[in-house]
Subunit: 346 residues, 2 copies
């Protein structure tokens, strides 16, 4: 039984008989009707040695990743974050300074995004675990769900995909980086990128496309401003936490539709071709890119693009919503091919 | 830097300039003004081998403990739970059935208490971790904080203290129980209590006061119904998650008062005297009893007692609120003694 099976099981057993609950399990956030606005609630848990490593990332970077992966869920409803609740389990591998630096990072992000940290819990265990629960808000008519996709909608994404998964792949498989990690085991509290700077091999990493991917994995950003703009135009919206393939599946399953994805249009930074000859699986099933995927009526795209260009964000048209009976088709050079798999995110 | 120091540091750095935030960090729940009512938000993280052990407890019992420790925080504001968000990190020590049984337990508790599970996260790691974030509600005029204690208030608790800490102490120190744990390592998914039943040594455990303490530690209840009643009468309210001493300190620090605690009046089940000649430290600094501690004007006690007796709950008067300058005094047989320590909860 995988993650989705368990979530499905829970969902089936819950009879929502509360008129205030607009959406329970099955979207990026739960949605509660608070009269003037919808309240959004989302939660994400990040685990040491799975979502982050203490010797790959600085405490600030771990804070950024934990917070942005959560903010991304609020962005994917078109909302703004209001309040954060942070639980952290610390291990003996980290000291006071480490904990303090993670919280400094949370404080900076909360100030930058104008939300408040209102609570949390600190406990001890064998590994570092960070769980964040965010409460956000969105105007009733601007809340954008996964389930609204319409036939002939264009499927778009907000930026390049696959970077984070490629970074993780490198950290796990590159002998070059493994040596770098070994070198710096002693200084734990630095990041692998700082380490590369110190050893003056930054340029070498950059030339190999490694630095791009590492940065995407270690210090991902998210699309909170874009989410609010896109929600005004889109019919459905989700963030990329498990790969484009998985997210489009969520949209069409919740919307009762089918999809065509055009392989040649999936945006992948050319630097990833230095990391792998075929970076498509990173983009399709790698995850943790925290870009937004949405479906939108074709005629609304120009106006949306106009508004996004003002904040420097480009969007990419990667597919089309079709009838449910047509299923999901992945099309490469006009031919139907199998959807790339191989980086199932746990 | 301990847990409270870190929380204090965070708290100092947060300037709450949001008129909707009635209370941020520094009470059992954060309190947000939603117009007709106050929204309560609390979160607690439970860690394997600290808050629970897989071979001490069944999955249902772990679910009960995780949920009740969280519900207790809402009870301590006088509120009712509305929505739950559950993040769980599972390890290779548990299987599908285990996970499913924990969620069955959550579903039963949510039905019994009339709240909804609206979201969560499932991830993987080396240990089992459960984080729950609860959203509750309370009428504006019935929300009860830690900071309202008044001079001459009587300090009361809702039931016997020290049971949970005594249970933990036994599990960690009793050679008899250690053998029992060893015996049942193979069956992991049973609890130590079920094991005792199977070995027909239940009565023996009971006679030694062990079963009482083990039950309190492994399957604690909480005081959600009592909280709503007490909040109508009390000036300050908190739940016992870190021992009576620690909770009274929170109340007087937040209220700017002092306290006298009468040792002879602290309610301790007589069975705990079979576990330890001096069970007072379990009650004062053991924690996880999830009883409620509150301060109340003397004249309101009879009416409160009348309402609580209807649901079969007794209360115990353990002390008095005094001037801040008098500090905290622990009084035994009329003599001032030092407050018992020794079971600092991590």
């Amino acid at each position: 039984m995988g993650e989705f099976d368990i979530i499905d099981k829970i969902r089936r057993e819950i009879l929502i008989n509360d008129p205030k609950v607009i959406k329970g399990i099955g979207d990026d956030c739960a949605v509660i009707d608070r009269g003037d606005f919808f309240e959004l609630v989302g939660t994400d848990m990040l685990v040491e040695n799975d979502h982050f490593h203490l010797h790959w990332s600085t405490p600030e970077q771990i804070g950024i990743k934990a917070m942005n992966s959560n903010i991304s869920d609020v962005a994917a409803m078109g909302g703004r974050v209001k309040y954060a609740f942070i639980s952290i389990c610390v291990s003996e591998s980290v000291d006071e300074e480490w904990i303090s630096r993670v919280y400094d990072s949370f404080n900076i992000i909360s100030k930058d995004n104008d939300f408040l940290i209102l609570g949390g819990d600190i406990t001890h265990g064998e590994n570092v675990i960070i769980n964040i629960c965010l409460i956000g808000e969105v105007e009733r008519n601007l809340c954008c769900f996964r389930h609204g996709a319409k036939i002939n909608d264009i499927i778009c994404v907000t930026g390049n995909l696959g970077g984070s998964a490629a970074g993780l792949y490198l950290l796990q498989n590159s002998p070059f980086l493994r040596n770098l990690v070994r070198v710096k085991e002693n200084y734990r509290m630095n990041s692998i990128i700082e380490e590369a700077e110190e050893l003056q091999i930054e340029e070498e990493l950059y030339k190999k496309g490694m630095l791009y991917a590492l940065n995407k994995h270690i210090e991902p950003s998210c699309r909170i401003i874009e989410g609010k703009i896109i929600a005004k135009f889109a019919n459905s919206l989700i963030d990329v936490s498990d790969g484009l393939g998985s997210e489009i599946r969520h949209i069409i399953e919740e919307s009762g539709k089918g999809a065509r994805i055009y392989a040649n249009q999936v945006p992948i930074n050319k630097m990833l071709y230095d990391v792998s000859r075929d970076p498509m699986p990173f983009a399709m099933s790698g995850g943790e890119d925290f870009e937004l995927v949405f479906t939108i009526a074709r005629e609304k795209i120009p106006l949306l693009k106009e508004q996004l260009v003002e904040i420097g964000t480009e969007i990419f048209e990667v597919g089309k919503i079709v009838e449910e009976s047509e299923g999901v088709k992945f099309i490469e050079n006009g031919r139907e091919v199998e959807m790339p798999r191989g980086f199932e995110h746990l």
